[in-house]
C-alpha cells in the first residue's frame, strides 16, 4: 500500500511527541492517521447504456466481475475494490418505517459467490421493470477481488446505463459525482459525442478533479481514429479539459487469454491503467503526502519552537527578558488570531446562512417550475387517469435531475466557502483545507411514490344510478305537468324528457369526475414535490450543517493548538528564571538532542513530498481541493 510509508511517519511522530504531554497534537496526528487508513479512491465509470462500461471494468480488473450481456445488463451500481479473497455482496436499504434519520439496521447485506452475482442483478432487471415489488430493490453490489492494481485503494464503480444519462439513474450518477476522485465517461467508437454526453461532461468537470473520456470498442470500428479526433474537437469546442483514451476490451480479453504483451498494449488498457495509477491514485497520494507532511511538520514545528525558546532562556539567563518579550509578542499574535478567528467564525456562519437560503431558493424554484409544467399538462390533457403513468414518470425524472443539479451546486458553493474561511488563516502559512466529503444518501428514497387515488370509480352501477336519478326527475316533472292537461303520469313527453335529463345528468357527472380527477392529480403532483422539497431540503441542510461543523472544528483546533503552544513556551521561559543551575545545565544538554530528534523526523517527512522535478508532471493538473496553498492575504 503506498500510504504505508506515510502511516509509518505518523507513527514515528506519535512516538516522538509522547513525552511532551500534548494531547491536542496527539489527537491531530491520530486523526491524520485514521484518514490515511480509511482513504479510498473512487472512480466512477459512467456513460450511456451499451457503451461497454461493464466490459471496461472487467478488463481493468482482468476478471468477469460485472455482468455483460448484449441487451441492457447492469441495473445496479457495482462497486469493485480490493480484497484478499474474491467476495461479492448485494446491499439494499430497507425501509425503516418513515424514520430516515436512523441509518443503522436499515442496510441489508447478502453475501454470495461472484458467479451468482450476475444472475441476481439481471433477475432484478426483469422483475424490477414492474417496480411494484414488495421487497426494496438492491441498492448496489460490492465485489472484492485480489488485484494488485486495486491495492492502492482504488475503487471502481460500474454505474447502470439504464435509461440513458438524462434519466432517474443518470441523476443518481450525478449526485455521486462530488464524492468521486475520478470519472471515466465511456462512449463507443461507433459515433461522436451526442448532446447528453457533452452536457454530462460539462457538469462533471465542474465538480470532479479528474475526468477522462474513454473511447471503447476500437477493435470494431475502422474509423475510430476519426471519431477520436471529432470527439477531441467537441471537447475543445465545449471548453472541457479532459483526456481521451481509446481502448478495446475485446483485445484485452484476447491478450489476457494468450498472455500477449503486445496485444495488451494495443488494447489501450495499460495506458488507461497507468492513467488511473499515475494521475488519479498519484494525485490522491500526493494530496495525502502533503497533508501528512503538513500535519507532522506543524506538530514538530510547534514542539521545536517550545524547545528553542526554552534553550534560549536556559543558555542565557540574562536574556530571558528578551525571550519573554518575544514570546509575549507571539502571544499577542495569537490573540490577534483569536480575534481573526472570531472573524472567520463570522464568515463561516454568514456563509452557511447565505448558502442555506440560496440552495433552498434554488430547489424551490426548480420544483415550482416542474409543478407549473405538470399542471399545464394536466389542464390540457383531459382525463388524467389515462396519461397518469407517463406524467408521473416525467415528473419523477425531472424532480430527480433537478435535485441532482441542486446538490451539485450546493457542493460547489460549499467548497468555495471553505476557501473563503481558509483565507483567514492563510497568514500563518500554507494551510491545508479539510477535504469536504459531501455525500447524500439519496433523499429521494424516502419520498413516497406519486399516486392518483381513484376515489370515484365510475362504473356501470354509478352510471345507471346517475342516469336513473336524472330521468326520474324528468319523468316526474313533465308527467306532473301532463296530469294538469289530463295526460297520464307516464306519457311520451315525460319519458322523452326523462331520457334527455338522464343523459345530461350522465355527461355532467362524467365531466365533474374528470375535473375532479384533474384537481386530484394536481394535488398528487404537488404533494409529491412538497415531499421532495421537504426531504431534499433537509438533506441539503444537514449536509451544510456537517460542512459547517467540520470547518469550525478544524479551524478551532488549529487556533487552540497554536495558543497552547505559545502559552507553554511562555510558561517555560518564565519558569526558567526560577530553575536551579543544575537543572538548567541538564536541560541545556537535553534540548539539542531532542531538537535533533525532531529535525530528523522533519527530514523524513520532507522526503515524503515529491521532488520538485518529478512533482511538475503531477502538479500541472489542478488539484482536487482547489485552493490548496492559499497565498498570504492580509486582512
Amino acid at each position: 500500500m503506498p500510504s504505508s510509508t506515510q502511516i509509518e511517519a505518523i507513527d514515528l511522530a506519535l512516538e516522538t511527541i509522547v513525552r511532551y504531554n500534548r494531547p491536542d497534537l496527539n489527537s491531530r496526528l491520530r486523526q491524520a492517521r485514521a484518514r490515511l487508513q480509511n482513504g479510498y479512491i473512487r472512480v466512477l465509470v459512467v456513460g450511456e447504456f451499451k457503451q461497454g462500461k461493464s466490459l471496461l471494468v472487467n478488463g481493468l480488473v482482468r476478471a468477469p466481475v460485472c455482468p455483460v450481456y448484449d441487451d441492457v445488463a447492469t441495473s445496479v451500481p457495482t462497486v469493485v475494490h480490493y480484497a484478499d479473497a474474491p467476495v461479492a455482496a448485494l446491499v439494499r436499504i430497507l425501509d425503516s418505517g418513515g424514520d430516515p434519520s436512523s441509518t443503522e439496521g436499515r442496510v441489508e447485506r447478502v453475501e454470495l459467490p461472484i458467479s451468482e452475482l450476475a444472475q441476481h442483478i439481471s433477475d432484478q432487471h426483469i422483475s424490477g421493470n414492474g417496480s411494484s415489488n414488495t421487497t426494496p430493490r438492491w441498492h448496489h453490489a460490492e465485489v472484492g477481488i485480489p488485484r494488485a492494481e486495486l491495492a492502492g485503494g482504488l475503487e471502481l464503480v460500474d454505474t447502470p446505463g439504464v435509461g440513458g444519462l438524462n434519466s432517474v439513474h443518470g441523476a443518481a450518477t450525478m449526485t455521486a459525482l462530488p464524492s468521486a476522485d475520478a470519472v471515466l465517461l465511456v462512449s463507443d467508437a461507433s459515433q461522436e459525442y451526442t448532446a447528453p454526453e457533452l452536457d454530462f461532461l460539462r457538469q462533471a468537470v465542474k465538480v470532479c478533479p479528474n475526468v477522462a473520456c474513454i473511447l471503447t470498442k476500437t477493435d470494431l470500428y475502422p474509423e475510430w481514429r476519426r471519431i477520436a479526433e471529432l470527439d477531441r474537437g467537441h471537447l475543445a469546442a465545449a471548453g472541457i479539459d479532459a483526456e481521451l483514451l481509446a481502448v478495446s476490451s475485446t483485445l484485452r480479453v484476447h491478450a489476457i487469454r494468450s498472455s500477449d504483451a503486445d496485444l495488451d498494449a494495443e488494447s489501450g488498457f495499460p495506458a488507461l491503467m497507468s492513467y488511473l495509477t499515475d494521475r488519479v491514485v498519484g494525485q490522491a497520494d500526493l494530496l495525502a503526502c502533503r497533508s501528512t507532511a503538513h500535519d507532522v511538520l506543524a506538530v514538530t514545528g510547534q514542539l521545536a519552537g517550545n524547545l528553542r525558546s526554552e534553550y534560549a532562556a536556559h543558555s542565557d539567563p540574562q536574556a530571558v527578558g528578551e525571550v519573554i518579550k518575544q514570546l509575549s509578542q507571539a502571544q499577542q499574535h495569537a490573540e490577534a488570531l483569536k480575534e481573526r478567528s472570531a472573524r472567520w467564525q463570522h464568515t463561516l456562519n454568514d456563509g452557511v446562512g447565505d448558502l442555506n437560503a440560496d440552495i433552498d431558493y434554488d430547489l424551490r424554484d426548480r420544483m415550482r417550475e416542474i409543478v407549473r409544467e405538470a399542471e399545464e399538462e394536466l389542464d390540457n390533457g383531459g382525463d388524467p387517469k389515462k396519461v397518469w403513468e407517463q406524467l408521473s414518470g416525467w415528473v419523477e425524472q425531472e424532480v430527480n435531475s433537478a435535485a441532482a443539479a441542486n446538490f451539485l451546486w450546493a457542493t460547489q458553493r460549499a467548497r468555495w466557502l471553505t476557501g473563503q474561511v481558509g483565507d483567514h488563516f492563510s497568514v500563518e502559512g500554507a494551510e491545508i483545507l479539510p477535504k469536504l466529503r459531501t455525500e447524500t444518501d439519496d433523499a429521494l428514497n424516502y419520498v413516497r411514490a406519486m399516486q392518483l387515488r381513484d376515489s370515484e370509480p365510475f362504473g356501470i352501477m354509478q352510471k345507471g344510478l346517475t342516469g336513473l336519478r336524472g330521468s326520474y326527475v324528468g319523468v316526474l316533472m313533465f308527467g306532473m305537468l301532463g296530469t294538469v292537461v289530463g295526460l297520464p303520469l307516464i306519457n311520451p313527453f315525460s319519458v322523452g324528457a326523462g331520457l334527455l335529463l338522464g343523459g345530461k345528468g350522465l355527461t355532467d357527472e362524467r365531466r365533474r369526475i374528470v375535473a375532479r380527477r384533474q384537481s386530484e392529480a394536481k394535488t398528487a403532483v404537488r404533494r409529491y414535490v412538497d415531499d421532495v422539497i421537504f426531504q431534499v431540503g433537509k438533506e441539503s441542510r444537514d449536509m451544510l450543517r456537517r460542512v459547517q461543523r467540520d470547518l469550525r472544528d478544524h479551524f478551532t483546533e488549529r487556533a487552540e493548538e497554536l495558543n497552547l503552544s505559545l502559552k507553554t513556551s511562555l510558561q517555560t521561559a518564565e519558569n526558567s528564571v526560577r530553575t536551579s543551575k543544575s537543572q538548567r545545565e541538564r536541560r541545556l544538554v537535553e534540548i539539542p538532542s531532542e531538537l535533533k530528534h525532531l529535525e530528523a523526523l522533519e527530514r523524513k517527512v520532507q522526503n515524503l513530498l515529491p521532488q520538485p522535478g518529478s512533482a511538475e508532471s503531477v502538479a500541472a493538473t489542478p488539484l482536487p481541493e482547489a485552493p490548496l496553498h492559499l497565498t498570504a492575504s492580509t486582512r
Binding site: E48, T194, A195, D219, L220, P222, I227, L251
Partner: protein
C-alpha cells in the same frame, strides 16, 4: 371492405372543391394543388433517428445502390429527398430564392453532392432524382439526426418532422431508426403523434433497431441477440403505442449484400481459405486487419502467399463495405460451403433482417399507401380550413367530416392506434385478435384472419364468417364498455368488408 380507391376519389373531390373555393387565395390554392398532386405521387417515407443511427446506410440498402453519402462522422446535414426520375438530377431548394440544379457527380459509385458553397443552414431541402425500381413505390426522405451534438442540425429534423408552428408534416410515414431505446427516441416518436386526423401515429411508424450487426461486439451470432432485444422492445408498452413494430436490421450488411461484387467475393474467399489461426488473428480488430505488414500479428511467415494476396487497399475497401462483422460472417459462411457470389449475397441480405423490413414495409406502408396519402391530404385540408375565415369553408368542413366518419379504413387506423395505446379495454385474447382483424399486421384478408397466404377463398370465407359471428356476439356483450363495444362493431364491419370483397368461385 370498401376499396381504397373510393376514399381516394372522395378525397380528390373534396380537394378539388377546396381549390375552387380558395382560387382567390393563391398561396392556399397552391398548397392544395400540391396535395392533389401528392395523391398521384409515391408514398413519402421519412427515415429519422438519432445521429449516426445509420439512416443513410439504411436508405442505400433500401434502394440497393450507394446514393446517399455516408461517413464515419456526422454526415447528413440537409433534409434530402430521393425520388424516382428518368435521369439522375440534384436540385437544391434554398430557404429563400429559386431552386438551383446541381451537377451530378459519382465518386466510387456513391453520389457526391457539392453544395457549391451554399451553407447547409440556408437550404430547405435537396431533391435527388434517381432512376430506381425501389423508389417507384416510395419516395425516401433522409433526415439529419436528432440529439446531435450540434443543436442546429437536430433542430432542423425536429422542424421537418414535427413542426412547432402547426405547418404540415410532409412525410406520410416514418421509419424510425434507433440503436437502443433512449429517452430522446421516445420523445421524438411521441411528438410525431398526429394532432387532428385520426390521431393515429403508431400506424404510420415503424421502428428499426439499426446497426444490429454491432450488438454483440461483432460476434457472428450478434444478430440473434439483436432479435431478442427487438422482441423485448416490441413488448414494451411505451413503444407499442408509438410504433407498429420493431425490426432489427444490419443496414451495411444488407447494402453490401445487394451490391456484392465478384472481386470482393474472390477476396473473401481467399481470406476464408487462408489458415484458420492466421485469419482469426487478422479479424481480431480493425487495426490488425489493416496492419501494413501482417506478419506482425502472427509470427509465422510460412504463408506469405496468402498474406500478400490481399493488398492493403483491398482490405481497406472490404472493411468499408462489410464492416468487421460482415467479414467475419462472410468468411464463416464461405467456410461452411457458400461458394457462389449470389449465394453469399442472398445469405447476407437474409441475415441482415432486410427481408423482414421489406415485408413489413410492404404490408404496412405500400399496401396502405393510398390510405396514408389520403390521410395526409385530409390533414392538410383540415389545417387550411381551421385557419381560414372563408365562409364557404363550412361546407367543406362538413365534407371532410363526412369522409373522416364514413371511411372505414380511417376508422380502422384510428382504432388500431387507440388499441395500441391501451385505450380500449378488451380482454387480452380478444385484444390481439381485434388488432389483427383491423389490419394491424397487414391488410390482406389472409393476414387478418391469420391463415396462410395460399388459403383458398372457401377457407377465407369460412374463417371470415366465423370471425363475424364471434365479433357480433362480442359487440352485443353488455359487460363491455362503450369504447370496447364500438371497437367490436368496427371489427364486425371489417369482417363484413372482407366477406364482400372476397373473390367468388
Amino acid at each position: 371492405m370498401t376499396s381504397p380507391t373510393n376514399l381516394s376519389v372522395a378525397v380528390r373531390g373534396v380537394l378539388r372543391r377546396a381549390v375552387d373555393v380558395f382560387r382567390d387565395e393563391p398561396e392556399i390554392a397552391k398548397l392544395l394543388h400540391q396535395q392533389l398532386d401528392r395523391l398521384d405521387e409515391p408514398l413519402r417515407v421519412a427515415i429519422a433517428g438519432k445521429v449516426k443511427a445509420g439512416k443513410s446506410t439504411l436508405l442505400n440498402a433500401l434502394v440497393g445502390e450507394d446514393i446517399a453519402p455516408t461517413d464515419a462522422g456526422e454526415c447528413t446535414r440537409v433534409v434530402t429527398w430521393y425520388q424516382d426520375g428518368r435521369t439522375p438530377k440534384v436540385v437544391m431548394y434554398p430557404r429563400s430564392g429559386p431552386p438551383t440544379s446541381l451537377p451530378v457527380h459519382r465518386r466510387d459509385g456513391a453520389l457526391a453532392i457539392d453544395l457549391q458553397g451554399t451553407a447547409p443552414e440556408q437550404l430547405d431541402r435537396l431533391v435527388v432524382d434517381w432512376p430506381s425500381q425501389s423508389l417507384r413505390t416510395a419516395t425516401l426522405i433522409d433526415t439529419p439526426g436528432i440529439a446531435s451534438a450540434s443543436t442546429e442540425i437536430a433542430r432542423r429534423t425536429w422542424a421537418f418532422l414535427a413542426p412547432e408552428d402547426d405547418s404540415l408534416t410532409e412525410a406520410d410515414a416514418v421509419i424510425y431508426l434507433m440503436r437502443h431505446l433512449h429517452s430522446a427516441d421516445a420523445q421524438f416518436l411521441e411528438s410525431f403523434q398526429d394532432q387532428t386526423v385520426a390521431r393515429a401515429s403508431s400506424v404510420n411508424t415503424i421502428a428499426v433497431l439499426s446497426r444490429a450487426d454491432e450488438v454483440g461486439g461483432g460476434r457472428v451470432d450478434g444478430m440473434f441477440s439483436a432479435k431478442a432485444i427487438a422482441r423485448r422492445y416490441q413488448a414494451e408498452p411505451t413503444l407499442r403505442s408509438l410504433c407498429q413494430t420493431v425490426i432489427p436490421v444490419a443496414g451495411l450488411l444488407a447494402l453490401t449484400g445487394r451490391t456484392l461484387r465478384q472481386a470482393e467475393f474472390a477476396a473473401l474467399k481467399k481470406l476464408a481459405h487462408s489458415p484458420r489461426e492466421h485469419a482469426d488473428a487478422m479479424l481480431l480488430s480493425v487495426d490488425h486487419f489493416l496492419a501494413p505488414d501482417h506478419s506482425a500479428g502472427s509470427s509465422d511467415s510460412e504463408t506469405p502467399t496468402s498474406q500478400n494476396a490481399l493488398s492493403r487497399e483491398i482490405r481497406h475497401s472490404l472493411l468499408e463495405r462489410f464492416g468487421l462483422f460482415g467479414i467475419r460472417l462472410s468468411t464463416t459462411l464461405i467456410r461452411q460451403g457458400t461458394d457462389t457470389p449470389s449465394g453469399l449475397a442472398a445469405e447476407l441480405v437474409r441475415r441482415s433482417g432486410m427481408n423482414e423490413l421489406a415485408e413489413v414495409l410492404h404490408t404496412l406502408f405500400t399496401q396502405r399507401s393510398d390510405l396514408l396519402k389520403a390521410r395526409s391530404a385530409l390533414r392538410a385540408l383540415e389545417h387550411v380550413l381551421s385557419s381560414s375565415t372563408n365562409a364557404a369553408t363550412k361546407d367543406l368542413g362538413g365534407d371532410v367530416e363526412r369522409i373522416l366518419g364514413g371511411a372505414h379504413e380511417l376508422t380502422e387506423l384510428r382504432l388500431l392506434s387507440a388499441m395500441r395505446s391501451d385505450e380500449v379495454d378488451l380482454p387480452r385474447a380478444e385484444h390481439a385478435e381485434a388488432e389483427r382483424l383491423l389490419g394491424g399486421s397487414g391488410v390482406a384478408p389472409a393476414v387478418r384472419l391469420s391463415l396462410s397466404a395460399d388459403a383458398n377463398p372457401a377457407q377465407l370465407q369460412q374463417a371470415a364468417l366465423e370471425a363475424l359471428g364471434r365479433w357480433q356476439r362480442h359487440a352485443e356483450n353488455p359487460l363491455f364498455s362503450r369504447v370496447a363495444a364500438e371497437a367490436c362493431r368496427a371489427v364486425v364491419r371489417s369482417c363484413e368488408g372482407m366477406l364482400t370483397n372476397l373473390p367468388r368461385e
